[in-house]
Amino acid sequence: MNHPLSQPQRLLAALLVFAALVLGGCGFSTEDSGGGSNEPETEGITLYSGRIPAAIGPAVDSYEAEADRDVKVRFAETADLAATLVEEGDASPADAFFAQEPGAIAAVAEAGLLTKLPQNILDRVPPRYRDPGGRWVGVTGRARVIAYNKDVVMDSELPPSPFGLTAPKWKDRVGWSPASSSMQEYVTALRARYGDDRTKQWLEEMVGNGAVSFPDNVTIRDAIAKGEIDVGLINHYYVAQAISEEGPDYPVAVYFPPGGLGSLMLLTSVGVLESSDRKPEAFAFVRSLLSDKSQQFFTSSSKEYPLAKGAKPDPSLSVPVNQIPVSDSSLVDLKEIQGTIELMQESGAL
C-alpha cells in the first residue's frame, strides 16, 4: 500500500531519533542564571525570579561564589510565579521569591507563604522599603519620572508634577503606557493620595490632551530619542541605562518632578518561603542581595536605586533617594489595582 504521507512519517521518525539523541546523549541542556562557568557543585537554594537573568545574574553569581552553593533559578513573569507559588503551597520547590512588582510579593505574603525575615535582615533596609509585617524587603527602587528630549525641552519648562502635563502647551507631545504595571501602580498611588475624582479628571485630561499610548517604557524612551514625542512618563532607569550605553550625548534626560507624587518609588523585593527547608541559606542569599557588593551591581548595571542602608546610588542618579516618595501601604492593597484598571478604562486611557 502506498501512503501519500510517507514524507512526514520519515520526518517525524527523524525528529524522534534526534530528540532521543538529545535526551540520551547529553541530557537536556540547562544554563545557569548568570551564565557563569564556574558553578559550585554543592546544592543550594531554589529561587523563583520575576526579574530576567541580565537583571540579577551577577548578584546570584556573587552569592554562589561566596557561599559555595549553587542557586537554581526559575525565570517567569512575576505574576505567574506568584500564582504558581500559591498553587504549590507547602510543596513548593522554591526557597526564595524575587518579585519585579510590589503587588505580587504582597499577594504571596497574604497567602501566608512567606516567613518572617530575621531582624538583622530587616534592619538592613529603612522601614519604608519593607513589609510592615517583616515578610519581604525591598532590594531596589525604580522611580517614576518625566523623561524629556533635552534638545527640545528645558527642564525649567517642565511642570512641578505630571498633573501639569495636561496644559495646552503639552498637547500631543506626551507619551505614556497605560497598560504597563508600573503606570498602573503609579495611578493607584495617585488615587490613594488625591482620591478617585481628581485622578480620573487627570486621566481624562491626559487623554483629551492627546497623550500617545505606548506598550512599555522602552518604546516611550526610544520615541523621545527619535524626536517623535517630547516628554514621557516612565521609570527612571530606562533612561539611565541608555545613557550608559549611548554616552552623554544621548538626547533623553530625566526630570524628577518635585511636586505631589511626581516621582514615586516602586520596589523590587525578595522574600523567603515558609515551606523552605533551607531557610538559613535563603536568608544568607537575601543578605547577599542587600550587601554593598550586590547593591552596587544593581545600581551600576540597571541604574536602579539601591535600598539597603548605606548603599550608594550610581553617580548618574542625581536625585537623592530620600527625596523620592514611597507609596503608602495602599499600594499593596491588591483590590486597589483592579479599581485603578477600571478607572483607567472609564477615563479612556486604557
Partner: protein, 522 residues
C-alpha cells in the same frame, strides 16, 4: 455506519484515559471554583464578564470569518486551478502558522503601531490605532488562517471530480458548480478548521495582551497580575470551558453526518485544473498580499533586527543550538504522544459513536480552550499533590503540552478515518479477524496520514509555547520561545530576533510537509 456496535473495552479505556488527562486543567478550575462558589459565581455572572464574553465572541467570529475568507480562495486556487507556481504558493501561504502570536503582535506594533515603521516611512503624524479589536483581529487571522487552509486543501484534493463534471455537463457555470457541488462537500472540513481557529482565538494570550484587546484571557491575566484573585481567574476559565463546549456543539452540528467516504486510496482520478486565464493576475495579487503581510514582512523585520543583533554580537551559536535542541525535544515528544492519544479519541468518535465517545471527545478539547497559564497552574496543583516526583520534569512538561494541543491532532485523524469507509474494517472482521487485530492492521494504517498531519500541528504549537514551559519545565531548562520572552521583556528586540528566526526555521519543516499533505500521487 456501524453505530450499533459497541466500542471494544481497550479502546474505550484508552479514550477514557486520554479524556481524563485532558480534563485535568478544567478539574482544577472546578476545585478552585467550588472552594468559593459564591465569589466565583459572582465573577462569572458579572456584567464585566458578560461584556468580556461578548467582546471575545465578536473577536472569535470575526477571526473565523476572515480566516475562512482567506483560506477558501487560497485553497481553491492552489489545488484546483492552473495558478502559476501553485505548489510554492501553497507552502508560502501555510507558513504564517509558524509565527507565534506574541511575535506577530509585537511585529505588528513595531510596523503599524504609534511611531512605528510604517508611520515613519509615510511621514505622517498618526495612523489609525491598531490597538484593541482591529489589531487582535488582524494578527489572529493572519497567523491562524492556515489551520483552516491545511485541512481544506487536503479535502479539496480528494473531492471526486465526477460530480462537478456532471453539474457542468448540465450547463451550470463554474461559480454555480462551486457553490452547489464543491462547497457542500467542504463545510465539514471548514467547520473543523474553524473550530481550531476559534479555540485558538479564545485561548490566545500573546496577541491580545500586546495589542491590548480585553478578551477572556486578558481578564484572567489581570485577575492574577493585578488582584491576585485565583477564584476570579478560575471562574473566568470556567466560562471559557463552557464557551468551548458551545463551539464544539456548533461545529459538530455543521459537520453533522455528512461523511463522504471513498473505498480507499487509489480510486481517485485527479481533477483537471480550472484555467484562470486573465483571472490569474488578481489571484496572484491576492496570494502575494497575504504572503507579504503574514509572512514576508514579519520575517523581514526579524531579519533586519537579527542583523543588528549579530553585529552587536549578543547571541552565541552554541546557546541557540542548545535552545533549539530543547524546543525540538519537547515538541517531538508532545507530537508523538499527541498523535497516539488522538487516534484513540478519533477512532472512538468516528467508528463507535456513542454518548461515551462524544463525552470523551469533548473532554479532550478542554485543555486547548484554556490559556497556558491555567493549564500550567492546573498541573501545578495536581502534580504537587499527586505526583511530586514528576513536578517540573520533562515528562510533566511534555504531558502538559500534549493535553494543551491535543485537539489539533484529533481533527485531522478523525478526518482521515471519516474519509475511508468503515466497510473495509467490517470486511476484515467478516473474515474472522479480532477487533484488536483489525485496529492494528487496518485502522491505524488508514489513519496514519491524519495522525502525521496532527502530529505536525502539535509539534508546531509546542515549539511556540511559552507560559507552560516557563512554569513546568525543569529548573534552568530554556527553549527558543523562553529565550525570545527573556529578550523582549526588556525590549531587546534585536537579540530576540535570532532565536525567533531559528524557531521559525525549525517550525517551517512540519509546515512545509503539511502544505504538501497528500500532494504525492497515490
Amino acid at each position: 455506519v456501524l453505530g450499533a456496535r459497541p466500542a471494544p473495552v481497550w479502546l474505550l479505556g484508552a479514550g477514557a484515559i486520554v479524556g481524563l488527562a485532558a480534563v485535568l486543567p478544567a478539574a482544577y478550575l472546578a476545585v478552585v471554583i467550588f472552594g468559593d462558589f459564591s465569589a466565583a459565581l459572582e465573577t462569572a455572572l458579572s456584567s464585566r464578564a458578560l461584556a468580556t464574553l461578548l467582546r471575545t465572541a465578536a473577536l472569535t467570529a470575526a477571526v473565523v470569518v476572515t480566516s475562512v475568507a482567506i483560506a477558501l480562495p487560497i485553497g481553491w486556487l492552489t489545488v484546483r486551478t492552473d495558478l502559476p507556481g501553485r505548489r510554492l504558493w501553497a507552502v508560502l501561504c501555510t507558513l504564517p502558522l509558524v509565527i507565534p502570536s506574541y511575535v506577530g503582535a509585537y511585529l505588528l506594533v513595531a510596523a503599524l503601531g504609534p511611531n512605528g515603521m510604517v508611520q515613519e516611512a509615510l511621514g505622517v503624524n498618526r495612523l489609525p490605532s491598531i490597538y484593541g479589536f482591529t489589531g487582535a483581529w488582524l494578527v489572529l487571522t493572519l497567523f491562524t488562517y492556515p489551520l483552516v487552509l491545511i485541512p481544506l486543501r487536503a479535502t479539496l484534493r480528494r473531492i471526486d471530480p465526477q460530480l462537478e463534471d456532471a453539474a457542468r455537463a448540465m450547463g451550470r457555470s463554474p461559480l454555480e458548480v462551486f457553490r452547489t457541488v464543491v462547497l457542500p462537500q467542504l463545510w465539514p472540513v471548514i467547520a473543523a478548521g474553524s473550530l481550531l481557529v476559534a479555540l485558538f482565538t479564545i485561548s490566545d494570550f500573546g496577541a491580545v495582551s500586546i495589542l491590548r484587546f480585553r478578551s477572556f484571557t486578558s481578564e484572567i491575566y489581570i485577575a492574577y497580575q493585578s488582584s491576585f484573585d485565583r477564584v476570579a481567574a478560575a471562574a473566568l476559565g470556567g466560562v471559557l470551558v463552557v464557551a468551548m463546549l458551545a463551539l464544539l456543539f456548533a461545529s459538530s452540528r455543521v459537520r453533522g453526518a455528512k461523511a463522504v467516504h471513498r473505498l480507499g486510496p487509489g480510486t481517485l482520478r485527479p481533477a483537471p485544473p480550472y484555467r484562470l486565464g486573465r483571472w490569474r493576475w488578481p489571484a496572484l495579487a491576492f496570494c502575494s498580499l497575504i504572503v507579504l503581510v503574514a509572512f514576508a514582512l514579519p520575517v523581514g523585520v526579524l531579519i533586519y533586527w537579527a542583523s543588528k543583533g549579530i553585529s552587536t554580537g549578543s547571541t552565541s551559536l552554541n546557546t541557540i543550538a542548545a535552545l533549539g535542541g530543547n524546543s525540538l525535544l519537547i515538541a517531538a515528544w508532545a507530537a508523538a504522544i499527541g498523535a497516539i492519544a488522538a487516534l484513540a479519541v478519533a477512532a472512538l468518535v468516528v467508528r463507535y459513536p456513542s454518548p461515551a465517545s462524544r463525552l470523551i471527545e469533548r473532554l479532550s478539547h478542554a485543555g486547548y480552550a484554556l490559556p497556558g497559564i491555567l493549564v500550567a497552574l492546573g498541573l501545578v496543583f495536581f502534580a504537587t499533590r499527586a505526583v511530586p516526583a514528576l513536578y517540573q520534569t520533562i515528562a510533566l512538561l511534555v504531558f502538559a503540552m500534549t493535553i494543551h494541543y491535543l485537539p489539533l491532532a484529533i481533527g485531522p485523524t478523525a478526518s482521515s478515518l471519516l474519509q475511508l469507509s468503515p466497510r473495509i474494517e467490517e470486511a476484515a472482521r467478516g473474515m474472522g479477524r479480532g477487533q484488536a487485530e483489525v485496529f492494528r492492521t487496518i485502522t491505524i494504517p488508514l489513519a496514519r496520514g491524519g495522525m502525521m498531519a496532527g502530529a505536525a500541528l502539535v509539534f508546531l504549537h509546542a515549539m511556540k509555547e511559552l507560559t507552560v514551559t516557563l512554569i513546568l519545565s525543569p529548573i534552568g531548562f530554556k527553549t527558543l520561545a523562553t529565550d525570545i520572552w527573556t529578550q523582549t521583556t526588556y525590549g531587546f528586540y534585536e537579540a530576540s530576533a535570532i532565536p525567533a528566526l531559528v524557531l521559525l526555521a525549525v517550525a517551517a519543516i512540519p509546515v512545509y510537509l503539511l502544505s504538501e499533505q497528500g500532494a504525492a500521487p497515490p
